[in-house]
Subunit: 215 residues, 2 copies
């Protein structure tokens, strides 16, 4: 068998799997996990049901595969949007922009990743929790980098992982709010979060700390 | 029947329901919804299973009742901790402190409210989404109050609901992080979030806005 033959033979499966996953994300996003039917996925994908089962397994497996793929694409979009040679604030800004651009361009993915998982839970939430962990680690590294550049001591850096967790939660929650307010432009929603969190962290880095007034 | 008799007759049911709910929160928190057994709830509560079913219904009903009660207690703790006559930053600080104090003192409640619901989903997530909505409305009112006091125009105030959504998400995510880092004192974790979000929003109120540098 020539190299040409092998490529031709392998390509269709990859293409079909992508078609199936694209269709499944759409169907799960529209109907939710329980209401979604494999018949509709088959129809939307233009791939027979036996082939879907053969390639991607049960409905549960298919949903897990959707989450894995969409989570991977989201993380790639964020990491790929960040230029590590830039100043930390620009890195964060580009990361946030990439996040909201992904969510804006892939609202169905976000619905499946966030809302459907919350309303389905179970084994699926583990995939999403793993993605959250990776996102927190990414943001933490960025904040530690920023703090180190500014000469902040290690004691103050103890809070960066907590700050990263807060920022990831803020991003998720704001993206969820955005699904219900689609008229707000991507850049606007990204800059709201940037201003909220960066001006905050920026002030901390500069040594300005809010303290409650005595009363 | 005298007033005295009626009180005596009604009290035991309230007490028993509280005992059942306390036990159920503990059991659901420890084992998760699916693994939790009504036998164990009955044992921990010291209330017979038939009486649990009679008072609070099925396991699903009981879980929903736990979420409703814990969400109500959390919202009361936050709203009760805020003195509306104080400056907005102090109001937010006291609200955050109350939130983290509740989570710190009721880690089992938070596990049920947040982690269990995420891993169970279904009808339970609606109770929690309703609570999130109320929390966002509360924070939004506070931010609008702060912005109005500072003379910020209505255009700039458009973002307060989005900011409130971001802040609620940040609080949830940080509380979740805190479950895994219990050595951090309540006041410390609350002040991290206060500094992150208030210094940020404070700068916005003062008209200082971060913009990406041209490159």
């Amino acid at each position: 068998m020539s190299v040409e033959d092998k490529r031709v033979k392998r390509l269709p499966r990859e293409v079909r799997e992508r078609q199936i996953l694209d269709a499944a994300v759409r169907v799960f996003s529209e109907h939710g996990y329980h209401e979604a039917s494999m018949d509709e996925v088959s129809e939307v994908a233009g791939v027979s049901k036996p082939m879907i089962y053969a390639y991607l397994g049960s409905k549960e497996d298919l949903f897990a595969a959707c989450i894995r793929r969409e989570a991977g694409l989201l993380m790639e979009a964020i990491a790929g949007g960040v230029d590590v040679d830039l100043a930390p604030d620009m890195q964060l800004w580009m990361g946030l922009r990439s996040f909201f651009e992904f969510v804006g361009a892939n609202k169905q993915s976000w619905r499946v990743l966030h809302r459907q998982v919350i309303s389905q839970g179970g084994p699926f939430s583990e995939e999403v929790l793993a993605m959250r962990s990776r996102a927190i680690t990414l943001v933490d590294a960025l904040l530690v980098g920023a703090a180190t550049k500014k000469g902040v001591d290690e004691h103050a850096q103890k809070s960066t992982e907590a700050m990263a967790a807060a920022l990831v939660g803020a991003g998720e929650s704001l993206a969820d709010w955005w699904l219900d307010h689609p008229a707000v432009p991507t850049r606007t929603v990204a800059s709201w979060l940037m201003n909220l969190v960066w001006m905050g962290f920026g002030d901390l880095v500069e040594g300005e700390v809010w303290t409650p007034s005595e009363h």
